[in-house]
């Protein structure tokens, strides 16, 4: 469909999760960190970052990871996810990290979105 090729015909990154920044392996998990996306119409305000946890085979019952979302070699937040109950606990380390927005299983992966303050 030609219309789908129009420049504005893409889902806003606040819903699609944004583009992948980096993918790495840690503790048998594959961790994908996307680029932070603007959470406001004109940008310049708060942002959201999406992190995806996956593993070949089933996810572990507990994911306990420290994430450096901007890859400045300083941890930004610690996240603990009970993949059975869905209970998720986020501990901000860097001052730019505000709160957990979403945490859910998506197909075979677990996805979290974290609110950031600029």
């Amino acid at each position: 469909m030609k219309m789908a090729e129009l420049p504005f015909m893409k889902v806003h990154p606040i819903y699609s999760g944004g583009e992948l920044n980096r993918e790495y392996k840690k503790d048998s998990l594959i961790i994908r960190v996307n680029n932070p996306v603007d959470a406001t119409l004109f940008g310049g305000g708060n942002q959201v970052v999406q992190v995806t946890f996956s593993r070949k085979g089933q996810l572990p019952g507990l994911i306990d990871q420290t994430i450096d979302y901007n890859f400045d070699n300083h941890p930004d937040f610690k996240v603990t996810i009970n993949t059975i109950s869905g209970e998720t606990n986020l501990i901000p380390i860097d001052k730019t990290v505000e709160s957990l927005w979403l945490s859910s299983k998506v197909k075979e992966d677990w996805v979290i979105r974290v609110n950031l303050e600029r």
Binding site: A4, Y15, L41, V106
Partner: protein
């Protein structure tokens, strides 16, 4: 002055049959893709019932000269079958009418035409769509819905709201329950509320990057899909949209005989009303024939006719082209009209030229859900279960 029968659009049986023939071909094309699926008795029955129903309604519109009566039969059927098949589809795919965070994160939420009102400003600024759906492919993809909205706006203007909208049949149906409405006097100023709703939801959605009408207000989530209640906020949203459904889609239409949700809340209706300006068809009042009885004012389900509109010879921009005022007028003073042509000439041609695209829209939207719905009912009778 010509006699009133001169303006009647009632057709002869031969002329009506002849004019129905092209629609039969279009029904075959759009309902069955040119080749009906008769592989099972259930599919054969579903196709035949749908085909006969759609053909008969169009023939009756032409033969009796009454538009709204038969349009409404198809339109209300569309609302009921759409809701049924949509819910059954969701239960088959997801196991529930509710969606959850996983569906949103995976961008699997079906896109409906009303969202169009909220994506325009962010699309212009961010060049992207603020909705967790899929652009192409899957159920109710964004690109295909936008193609339909743009095409229908150009062809019919706000006629979409009476011929194609798969929600409108709900309050069209409830507004017909009482023969004599309890609340008779409604100020026509209420018809402008939906424009305020459009402006507010378009701006708030752009600022919040969130389609707020879908998120908080849309009453039709009650009969389609809604967010799983996992927090107090989601509970509040549920209370709001269910209350709006009860008040604006059921109680007030029953009491007033008007399509209250479409008239006062729907932002898509307001956007479509603006497209009435760029559309070739409108409804006009032949002032040479009108006797100012105001039956049309009382009949209009969207408050689009007032004394001032009658004096101007046309309904307001909010007209949905449903044909109820035309059916009501005993003098045949209200007519479908092609802009730029004389009001008192070629009125049958103008009506027929409007009816083909308008009715085709109804056929396109109703054909699939009606066949699926009939098969579901046959399964229910055979197995005792609606969903296998």
């Amino acid at each position: 002055m010509k006699s009133k029968s001169f303006y009647s659009t009632q057709g002869s049986i031969w002329k009506s049959t002849l004019l129905t023939f092209p629609m039969i071909l279009l029904i075959l094309l759009f309902v069955a893709g040119g080749r009906p699926d008769l592989s099972t008795p259930e599919k054969s029955i579903a196709f035949l019932v749908t085909f006969v129903f759609l053909t008969a309604l169009f023939f009756l519109i032409l033969y009796t000269g009454k538009t709204d009566r038969y349009r409404a039969a198809g339109f209300i059927t569309l609302a009921l079958f759409f809701a049924l098949t949509f819910i059954v589809n969701l239960i088959r795919e997801r196991g529930a009418m509710t969606f959850n965070q996983e569906n949103m994160l995976a961008c699997e939420i079906p896109f409906c035409h009303i969202v169009t009102t909220m994506i325009i400003i962010p699309a212009l600024i961010t060049k992207s769509i603020i909705f967790p759906g899929s652009i192409i492919g899957g159920f109710a993809a964004i690109a295909s819905m936008l193609v339909i909205v743009i095409g229908v706006s150009l062809a019919l203007g706000r006629g979409f709201c009476s011929w194609g909208c798969f929600y409108g049949g709900w309050d069209d149906g409830t507004s017909r329950i009482m023969r004599k409405p309890k609340i008779k006097k409604i100020n026509p100023v209420f018809r402008w509320i939906s424009f305020a709703v459009l402006l507010i939801v378009a701006l708030i959605s752009a600022v919040a990057l969130n389609p707020v009408y879908c998120d908080w207000l849309c009453p039709f989530k009650t009969v389609t899909e809604f967010e799983k209640i996992t927090s107090f906020t989601v509970l509040m949203k549920t209370v709001v949209f269910v209350s709006l459904f009860a008040a604006l889609v059921i109680i007030l239409p029953v009491l007033t005989g008007k399509r209250i949700q479409c008239t006062t809340l729907c932002p898509m209706g307001a956007l479509m009303a603006l497209t009435n300006k760029i559309n070739a068809f409108d409804v006009r009042i032949n002032k040479n024939v009108c006797n100012n009885c105001e039956n049309c004012v009382k009949a209009c389900p969207t408050l689009s006719l007032s004394k001032e509109d009658m004096a101007a010879g046309r309904p307001s921009i909010t007209c949905m082209k449903c044909g109820k005022c035309i059916d009501t007028c005993t003098k045949h003073a209200i007519l479908y009209h092609i802009k730029g042509t004389p009001v008192d000439r070629n009125f049958s041609l103008a009506r027929n030229l409007f009816l083909y695209p308008a009715y085709l829209l109804l056929v396109i939207f109703l054909g699939g859900p009606m066949q699926t719905g009939i098969i579901l009912f046959m399964n229910l009778i055979k197995t005792g279960h609606l969903i296998n």
